[in-house]
Amino acid sequence: MKKLYLIRRRLESFVGPMTAEQLKASLQRLEFGLQDEVSGHCGRWIILENKKQLKSYYPEVYTAIFQGEVGPWAEPTGLTKKPAKVKNKKNSNNKVTTPNKNKESKTTKGGMGLAVFFLFGALTAAMVALYIVKPSLFTHFIDRVKVLSSKPSLEMIQSYFDAGDLKGYTEYIRKYKGKILEDVHANSKLDKESPWLPYLRFYAFHDQGKMSGLSNALLKGPHAVSAPTDCTLDSWKSRFKDGMQEWSSMVYTRELTKNNWGRLLAWDPHWIKRRVDKGWIEPINYYGACIYMAYRAFEDLINDKPLMERYTKIEANASEVISVLKSRLGWLSYLVNQTETFDGIIAGQTDRGFLGLSYWTCIEAAESFQEMESCKKTHDSQSQEWQDLDRDRLSKNILRLALDNPKHLNKTNLEKIQNSLQYLMKNGPFTRLDYRAEVYLAEELMKADGNVEAAIESTKKEFKFVDFSKDFLK
């Protein structure tokens, strides 16, 4: 019976069971990727790109993927020579294959050694002659050797980053990828984050949101517990595409879409901006990276003409639905990542008022209580579930504005915050974002009688990685 293997794709679905050969063919058809996991009979799940573990647990799969002619991810076949099988004359009855150690072989080896010695001598003489005639050839060669033997430097990569030299940055990471990944995995075994991870995250999320040799879990890091582990460009494309029939339900507040793209649209950008993550240089944290990938994925989808033609056939208000979703994603990306993806116009203002997601954008963008009130006046959500979420969103932004405009923290507004505490305490059940720090801050504000600085200071002691000074829109 042939061994079978099962693939777990993006922690969401399965491909197989199938033989190692079928698995190789399936990989070539791009039915899954190297960041996905494989399991054998009664075995553990191993990420395919973790070559060391894969070789150890499922050598047959390893061989099929990395030692066959699979594609660009395969190792060069010429480097993986099979050891010569030479039968030992003395033990020929045992049929054991061992390295040849008999006398005849030694003689041959001796002859070979002599030949190599003379060849080396001749080569050295030729090189000396060449150096005398054209020394510049050797300078280039020596420089190349220096690069290969040197270690990657954090200072160098930081300097590329500071200079905004994306090309130099990318080339540097590619050049030292092997050594950098060694450092990342060595630190990971010790339960530490490598100092290279922030740079690799920048590299990955300015491209497709992934990096071969690095698992999605390591890219994500330990802090962003409410975000999906797979935030690659491809994953968002398939999420949005698979959920196409639900786009309008979300936009017209008929139903909440409780899967990853629906939750991302509902993420609170101010909450995300407050979460300082030292493991990231740009985007500011994993949530920001997911938003950036989702925005780009959505743009790619709406530029796919055949797909959009199909969508306009099933959705009468296709252009409005698309503009609301695009505007929401653009706003999130603009506020969290400071990208220029938001033109300041909130799509989705109808005769009845703002549509759900657009209403949230309106209150998140409001710079005063007055502006926030004006969003509210023109708003009308359909379902009870949405109305509850609207109130929840409003309460969180009342607190934000209070921090943004401390002089407005009069008795009335303090009462508003007090009243909104019950919503804050819900811990963002839909978005899964944890609002404990916000609740604590609101309580401290009450205790300190509206003294924002004192409240922030005391909250900072309890929640070190939450920075309330980032609430300011300017």
């Binding site: 099962l6 069971p17 009979h41 330990p222 909440l256 409780k258 899967n259 899964r432």
Partner: protein, 247 residues
């Protein structure tokens, strides 16, 4: 089910040899293509109440809808799991005897030629195919989360065992449910069980028992339970098997 696929289901639950009460709950309906296993947690009667609340809640929700399309399953499951989670929290808040109760959940739904699997906690669903056994679900416990780097070792409360649950219904305000999908094929068997089975019987032995009793499918759950009891039966044991017949 798909044009040429029929589903057969067989299930059983047992108190085991150490526990006084069975806090596991089981429901299945082959005609509807749904099966639910829940393993309650919480002292006194809490676990029992929690597991039966989730099984009955989902069963009722499922029976209330006339017909469910494939694309509706995901929102159907997440909405109902959220709702039941809230009910468990409310019930726990009202009754001090039930405070802190929770439950795991594994719900298999077969629609068309797809299996949709909702999973929270450390009950498991396996796939048995041609003598091979694959664990489909990931245990939501400290051990798995540490191994996968989803939890920093500094965020684990000292003294917590590796088997401590990170996710379960009724424990927290928000309840994240894993939803998996798989295209099903003829001859495949899906085994859903509480930890009372796989903590007592090695995966390889589970595969062997299934292989040896394929002709006696209806009695397979009791045979697996008997093996768990032979090995000590330290916990309640629930087994549900869903077999795909046809091409």
């Amino acid at each position: 089910m798909g044009a040429n696929l029929r589903i057969r289901m067989a299930g059983a639950t047992d108190v085991g040899r150490r526990r006084k009460a069975n806090q596991d709950s089981l429901f299945y309906d082959a005609a509807q293509g749904i099966g639910i296993v829940a393993d309650g947690i919480g002292g006194r009667s809490g676990g029992e109440v929690a597991s039966s609340m989730v099984v009955n809640g989902l069963r009722k929700a499922f029976l209330e809808v006339d017909r469910i399309r494939h694309e509706e399953i995901h929102p159907f499951l997440t909405t109902n799991v959220d709702r039941i989670n809230q009910q468990l929290l409310d019930r726990g808040a009202q009754d001090p005897m039930l405070s802190g109760m929770g439950t795991t959940l594994n719900c298999v739904m077969f629609v068309g030629n797809k299996l949709v699997l909702a999973h929270i906690g450390d009950s498991r669903t396996y796939l048995y195919s041609q003598g091979h056994l694959f664990q489909l679900t990931l245990d939501h416990n400290v051990k798995t989360f540490l191994e996968r780097g989803w939890l920093g070792s500094d965020s684990v409360i000292p003294g917590s065992g590796e088997s401590a649950l990170v996710r379960a219904l009724g424990l927290f305000e928000h309840c994240e449910v894993d939803i998996y999908e798989k295209t099903v094929k003829g001859g495949e068997i899906y085994l859903t069980s509480s930890d009372g089975l796989f903590d007592m019987v090695r995966d390889a032995d589970i595969a062997r028992i299934i292989s040896n009793n394929l002709d006696d499918f209806n009695n397979l759950p009791t045979k697996l339970i008997a093996e768990a009891n032979r090995n000590g039966g330290r916990d309640n044991i629930t087994v549900l098997l869903s077999k795909m017949d046809g091409d």
